[in-house]
């Protein structure tokens, strides 16, 4: 068990050292998310539509699109020079590799989201600070679900010739429940509703997270096989 | 209410879809048969 945990932390450590040296992933994700938000601002007329109504959707589209970039990049790193094969050779449980990648994807995406949130607050003139805790909970649930399924599918797509195209095609239809759930919850949180009003959505998103982490644990053996 | 056109269209699409699929199946079968013929030919030439 101890080895299992230290293997997970070794993978996360390795991803962080790489990121500290290259600074490619976070900056790319951040700029991309910013661009998505800008393009949406230009495409809707903010003097007609209420910022509170379109804001949550735009925010999450930005998160998901730039998250997809992050997933692609993260498994590109492993595919380059056949590192993934080297990782499979190690006497580690495959789930350790899955959790290591899941955690580092999750942490990178969360850091990027924390940078985007203040800008979102300024651009849309929405006061996030008043509902910060419930908002963070919603973002946590959504990001975890996205990374749970995304890590599984990107390890699968990384072996395809057309991996950059196939990842979103495989991922987005399956993400529909999460997208609907988090956008609705974010909207309600920003409107000042308490979390107890949206227990069904929280339950749905949490069960998405649990189901996909469970399925990944059961199927990752079959994906990480040469 | 006379919407026979809609009924006809829906019906046509369903049948068209099924027939199209059967047609592609036929096509694939034909390709396989051709392949098989070629194989037999080369085998008999060698044997």
């Amino acid at each position: 068990m101890n080895l299992f945990l230290s293997q997970i932390s070794a993978i996360v450590w390795k991803d962080f050292v790489t990121e500290l040296k290259t600074r490619e992933l976070l900056s790319a994700m951040f700029i991309f998310a910013l661009l998505v938000i800008l393009i949406f601002i230009f495409s809707v007329n903010l003097s007609v539509v209420k910022a509170n109504e379109v804001g949550p959707g735009i925010l999450w589209v930005a998160f998901l699109f730039s998250g997809t970039i992050g997933l692609n990049r993260s498994f590109m790193l492993e595919k380059e020079n056949g590192c993934l094969m080297g990782l499979i050779l190690v006497p580690a449980d495959r789930t350790a590799i899955y959790f290591g990648k899941l955690i580092s994807n999750f942490v990178f995406l969360s850091i990027m989201e924390l940078f985007i949130l203040p800008l979102f607050m300024i651009f849309f003139n929405i006061d996030l600070l008043a509902h910060l805790l419930p908002l963070l909970l919603v973002i946590f649930l959504g990001t975890l679900g996205f990374c749970a399924l995304g890590t599984l599918l990107s390890s699968l797509a990384s072996n395809l010739k057309t991996r950059e195209i196939m990842l979103p095609i495989l991922l987005y239809p399956l993400l529909v429940p999460i997208v609907i759930g988090v956008v609705r919850m974010t909207g309600q949180v920003l409107a000042g509703e308490p979390l107890s009003e949206m227990m069904n959505w929280i339950g749905l998103t949490a069960s998405f997270d649990i189901i996909y982490i469970g399925v990944s644990i059961m199927t990752i053996d079959h994906i990480l096989e040469e | 209410m006379d919407n026979l056109g809609f009924l006809f269209a829906a019906n046509a699409f369903v049948w068209g879809g099924i027939i199209y699929y059967v047609y592609t199946l036929k096509q694939r079968n034909r390709a396989l048969e051709k392949d098989l013929e070629l194989l037999k030919e080369t085998l008999s030439k060698e044997g």
């Binding site: 529909v176 429940p177 609907i180 609705r184 | 809609f6 699409f13």
Partner: protein
């Protein structure tokens, strides 16, 4: 496969062809002659006798994909891979027919081709999931990798269906719109003749599924056999 087995299979196949044809004939007679025209919706309601069986068939096909995917990962037998491939293909075809006949029915009844009703939306997403399944198969080379990946997606995709269903249902519930039709409206208070017609049609389409599956699976096995012969020929030379 020995030649006897092939013959036997062919005989069974012929019986299935005739049976399917007969039931389809009966279904056609029932749909266009026997069943009375519905009062409020008019003749368009007859589309339902195609629409519902198509939907049933595609859901059933996707369920088969799910089961066969699990069995594949468990047994690692190419047989299950062939079944899930064939079933997914047929499922996508009929899911497309559902998505085409749905709007054709909706236009005269609801006044719009497409309404973001819960069922329509989830059917569309389902269609997307299984199209991406077929794309994944097309994108990877034949071999155990393709089969394993497809099986994982077959499982992941099917488990998503209940989540999609609830999310789409609640999504609409929060935007109350004038409900043109309740989702149960079709089945409620149905005339027995209508129910019988629907039943016959369901039978016909289910038979058609097994017929198509049989053809598709046999095809795939024949392809394997040809490849095997080719390789053996190469080996002997």
């Amino acid at each position: 496969m020995s030649s006897d087995e092939i013959e036997e299979n062919e005989e069974e196949g012929n019986i299935l062809v005739w049976l399917t044809g007969l039931v389809f004939l009966a279904a056609m007679i029932a749909i266009f002659i026997y069943v009375p025209t519905e009062k409020t919706e008019g003749v368009v309601q007859r589309i339902m006798y195609f629409h519902i069986p198509c939907a049933w068939l595609s859901f059933f096909a996707f369920f088969v994909v799910f089961i066969c995917s699990i069995l594949f990962l468990w047994k690692k037998d190419r047989e299950w891979d062939i079944y899930s491939h064939a079933s997914a293909e047929i499922g996508v075809i009929f899911c497309s027919l559902v998505l085409i006949t749905g709007p054709i029915w909706a236009k005269p009844i609801w006044g719009a081709w497409w309404v973001w009703d819960a069922r329509l939306t989830s059917t569309l997403i389902l269609w997307l999931i299984y199209v991406s399944y077929l794309m994944l198969r097309a994108q990877s080379d034949a071999g155990s990798m393709r089969a394993r990946y497809a099986a994982v997606l077959g499982i992941v995709g099917f488990l998503d269906i209940p989540l999609i269903h609830f999310s789409v249902l609640w999504w609409r519930a929060f935007h109350p719109q004038p409900k043109v039709i309740t989702s149960e409206g079709i089945g409620k208070g149905m005339d027995p003749t209508m129910l019988a017609t629907l039943g016959i049609s369901l039978c016909a389409f289910t038979l058609l599924y097994f017929l198509l599956m049989g053809v598709r699976v046999r095809q795939e096995k024949l392809k394997d056999e040809i490849d095997r012969l080719k390789r053996e020929k190469i080996y002997s030379s």
